[in-house]
């Protein structure tokens, strides 16, 4: 393997930089998944996840990547041909509704421009038109990893409630959970889908469903074939801290440590840190004279920022140069955004100086790529970070 000093800057919007102590925790010897020591591990992580989801209801853990938890949310609650309402907020919302189609559901996919989140008014309107309650579920991506746009779940919840519609609310929080404030119970979400490799600061390989009582009741009648993803055996075994099949033990070691770190920092502090980094990043983009993809001030993601590259420049070439010269990975533009944006991940385990290094790499990379920018991005970000530090200190 080549080496040129220092650590790689992994600034894609996930997988994120895994803390050393989480990596070391994962290197402990695998134990008997039916023994008493495992039960303690299982109970610890199953309980520790609940506050992160903002729920007192059960969470199930899949030894699978986040895509699997998407499938789990659908097959446990819906029946063949059921109608679901989806919104084209970006690449991942598009993939999820494609999955729904492939599984035999009928998808109403509301077009979007990939620069806005889900419009609560549109939700209200569409559900209002569905007097027969044919729509069984509304599927949303909380934080669109492809665009850096965060949909406003509480307003959407209110829209559903105002329409008096019984549809389930299924929310993908893969790139928001543990980075952006999220409240499964308070917001009346029925199934929250999440993965390990973003705000939870773990490698990929675990995924989650948080399940409301309403979703659980729906699962009794849901008829899509299911076996591996079936909640029931997971919930039964989970009560004692076990799993119906062999779990990904060493990733669970990592999860225990990651939950300990989140608790040590305190979730409100974690969310504040991500907001601060997102603001500083947008300040940098403005400093360079470039444009952030997200077009609604209320919907800027705290987890990542997608930057629009000026016409005539290829975002992928810029990313390749930055990887080559500065050993930093940035996120590509996905789907219809390919080549037109790059994405800066500032989620997971990350701090002010790493953000400064990241933005420095972007500034140098843009300049070396010949993109016409003002060299004021990093300084603008530093001003924000210093100001936040000053304010924070005075508040103590």
């Amino acid at each position: 393997m080549s080496f040129a000093g220092g650590r790689h800057f992994l600034q894609i919007p996930g997988p994120t930089n895994v803390p050393d102590s989480v990596l070391r925790a994962m290197a402990a010897p695998t134990i008997d998944h039916r023994g008493p020591e495992f039960g303690e591990l299982g109970r610890t992580v199953l309980a520790g996840l609940k506050p992160v989801f903002g729920t007192t209801r059960p969470v199930v853990i899949y030894p699978a990547s986040g895509t699997g938890a998407w499938e789990a949310a659908l097959v446990n609650t819906l029946s063949p041909g059921d109608k679901v309402l989806c919104f084209e907020t970006g690449h991942f919302a598009t993939l999820w509704q494609e999955m729904a189609r492939r599984l035999g559901l009928t998808v109403h996919f509301v077009p979007g421009d990939w620069r806005h989140g889900v419009d609560p008014a549109r939700v209200a309107e569409l559900l209002g038109q569905d007097g027969a309650h044919e729509i069984k579920a509304v599927c949303l991506v909380h934080n669109e990893t492809s665009t850096g746009v965060t949909s406003r779940i509480p307003e959407i919840r209110a829209a559903i409630d105002n329409a008096g519609h019984p549809a389930l609310l299924l929310v993908d929080t893969i790139s928001s959970l543990g980075s952006i404030d999220y409240r499964h119970d308070e917001w009346g979400v029925d199934v929250t889908v999440a993965g390990s490799q973003k705000g939870l600061m773990l490698p990929p390989g675990l995924s989650f469903n948080a399940i409301s009582d309403k979703a659980l009741a729906a699962s009794e009648k849901a008829k899509l074939p299911r076996s591996f993803w079936d909640w029931r055996p997971l919930l039964e075994a989970g009560e004692r801290g076990y799993f119906p099949y062999t779990p990904a033990t060493n990733l669970l070691y990592g999860l225990r440590e990651a939950l300990r770190l989140l608790e040590a920092e305190g979730l409100p502090n974690v969310f504040a840190r991500h907001l601060r980094h997102a603001e500083a990043t947008r300040a940098a983009v403005e400093g360079w004279g470039l444009e952030v993809l997200c077009a609604d001030e209320r919907e800027h993601s705290a987890a990542l920022t997608a930057v629009v590259v000026p016409e005539g420049h290829d975002a992928d070439k810029i990313r390749a140069l930055i990887l080559d010269r500065f050993d930093m990975s940035l996120g590509a533009g996905l789907g219809k955004l390919a080549g037109r944006v790059f994405r800066i991940g500032h989620l997971g385990s990350f701090n002010d100086l790493s953000l400064a290094g990241t933005l420095s790499g972007v500034q140098m990379g843009l300049a070396l790529s010949g993109v016409p920018i003002r060299p004021d991005g990093v300084n603008a970000a530093l001003d924000r970070l210093a100001a936040a530090s000053r304010t924070d200190r005075e508040a103590r």
Copy 2:
């Protein structure tokens, strides 16, 4: 965590003892799963798996446990209502056919006594009766982890061929792959299902399908809904070493190292080591005057040995005593064998002295539990091991 000196003996038949170097490999920082370094990793492990399966055809890797790969084998090749032929060789064969039922297949489940493998003559008979070729697949567990019985796949293959029956052959090698000689191509298997946590010496969290051309062709017409498990995107992305969704990167680091270790030892040596340990274990059981569960000399598993506990004794109490006194985990009797057998895992990364320690713990544990045994088990095993060492040396 309590500590009483030394390392835990993890002698369940999987998860197995993970080599230190594999655990350390897994602790490397997670990388961008879309970057060039990942592509190299992906190509290395996808290529390195093929000789382990005995195939030149593609293998797909799921970021999921082995149960998921069972589901993948079914949903990629079959359609709702399809008839599959299954054999009750033990607990895992029973679970797999239950999954098939839940997914909407019609299962013909041939009863068994949990002490024998699949009878090739019975396969021939049943397929011979199916002149209409209604049976679309024969599902077998190569090595029944619950019983320590290994079915004779080549003879079963011959039976299918002799019957001139076109059914697909789906084989679960979860507890045999990498421990017991196995040949996907030579034996004409259509889908081989495997997991990471046994002979591959990894923690749980990865699973595999090796896929024949015939299976691939079947997948074109198969109508069970599938998305996460769908082979197509995995095969497409896999050609360049990538995955259609976020893979379990750190487990893949471990896989790369585990494949390196298997290659360093040499598969024929790996298989010979497991045969030697299985023979020594049976010698010990005979030395104690106890009975091995497997009732057919041709079907003894090289990966684990299930020991029948005399009437009036509870195998689970013996296991609990051994865990408490000697810090060793043994496998429980599962399903209808609960309390009646315990299982000694001798698969994965394991050597003569660890086996001697394991059998010593069993011998002491049986004695302390009041089971009437002769104290000749360990010595009988040591005689076998020493004899094997002598023979091996002379052969060089």
Copy 3:
């Protein structure tokens, strides 16, 4: 690196098998040795060592191997030409007095047969003859790693006291500390020398001096040149948890974890475990019809057992065969014992089943080497271990 399954059995009498959690602790990133986080680490390990030495007085930690701590004990307390009394109990006692000579001390080296510890009566006699108190220090090896003989420090202390002699008592506990009961304060030891790589379950690289008030007073007048080994700056900085020069930070991480493990098990349990393993090992040697080197029943080491190989057999060839066939390292005969004994280390992090595996390897290795033994060693050891387990359980 070659691989043949399983873990190496490191049964030399040190370095010992390092627990996984200690190895992982050592892999944490190095921190600023002048920062507040380091101070906490330093205070924790400096305090945590005291009960292991059985002292309330200061302990200093050298970032150096045990040989260095020998030198430290001498140069801090003695002046050029000072007379010291040493006893030829084995190879390490011989090396220590050679060091004393090289440093300019006058050594009275009492010959021995390498099968006995220091004779308290001889100490009494020699000090009694020294009416002028020319002997400034008595240097003893508590547990002779080369012979498996443990000298009786309390009786020697009594002999010194009865002689009314003011000599300092310097004791090497390199292979006993943390494995065999030891009491720096109660036994009136002035300097206790120790290392990290035996009972403390760490890799080599740290060593220790526990220092009595009398030794500290002596250090004020001692004139051997000293700088790196000088206690004073270490004691001064140590009060706040720091070091006068860069300490071996990552080994200190390991030490913190190792002390936690010793405390979790409880020192009395640790010592009982080692006594049990030593008795079982001697039972095995007797079962084989071989002879233990230690010739005094009161002086058997709980940390290792040296086994005499019958005339006409080369202990080193036996060791080489065992390494080659069974991947186990045993200790060589050192100095005048070369080729005539091998040493079985049963110290540090070790348990009953690992001991059974170890003795199984020795039994097979002896047989394969053509040494005429009875095959009753392992069974005799298992009987002891099982009996100890029975007694222990009844005692609860």
Copy 4:
């Protein structure tokens, strides 16, 4: 342990940031230091060190910190009362000559202002005055870690040669080796002293002497008492890859990996990287309107930069604020520089973006501390780094 996201920035001038792969290498199980596997390890690292020192002559490795290697250089080559010539270039030069005094040598300590390296003309003058050749050794610190000043060894060598003086040349490269170009043989150095925790990218705990033939000859007659530090047994055992006493095995694992990384990057690239970072750092200091401590353009250290804090500001308070707010450790002013400077370490495993993060932290910390600076430091550094990247690319 507290956690606030991200990794600590360890920007003291050593210990440095240890690469992940080195930390993981150190976590491998300890092996028998007398066995064949160890011999291979020993030979690999002893050979691999030579090019790093720029020597074909032997290097010895101590399981001890760098201070020990200072002592080794002196006790192996000199006799009580011997006269040595030392230069007050800073704190570490001062400590080394104090050690020499304590060991019984006669030190001529040439005063200095801590802003310059050793003056070759002064060396020439002093040796020229020593017609009787009473000066047995000249002791220099190549890179003064306390000041960021690098002495010009080749010019000093020439001065010694021109004076026709036979004194040994002993050079401390603790903070330069592996970061700054250094040539033991070419520059006629007799003993090079080094440590593991700086350019070698390891934790502290290993130290080194590279030894010229002339030094080896001197060691035959040197009369300072020595045992632990004695070169002879180390050289003898080292020929086969072993050590006369238990080596720090796990640190040697790390050394093997670190040497592999240095070779992978290529020493010329390593040195160029450090020069680039030092230049960028000085550009930042100039950008802030502050002063670098080093007063001679020819002597700027490539490994660290000491920054003078304006009158009325306390460097230690600034460092404390930066540690508290930005989780970065900087080096303190030592000795007579306490409170007046802080030191930025940019040595070891380090890259452009980490430097940018480091300088960003300093810039924000200075501003938050009320130090009057211009906010142009980071941008000036980025300009340098980008320019270097452009030049480097064009040169390919």
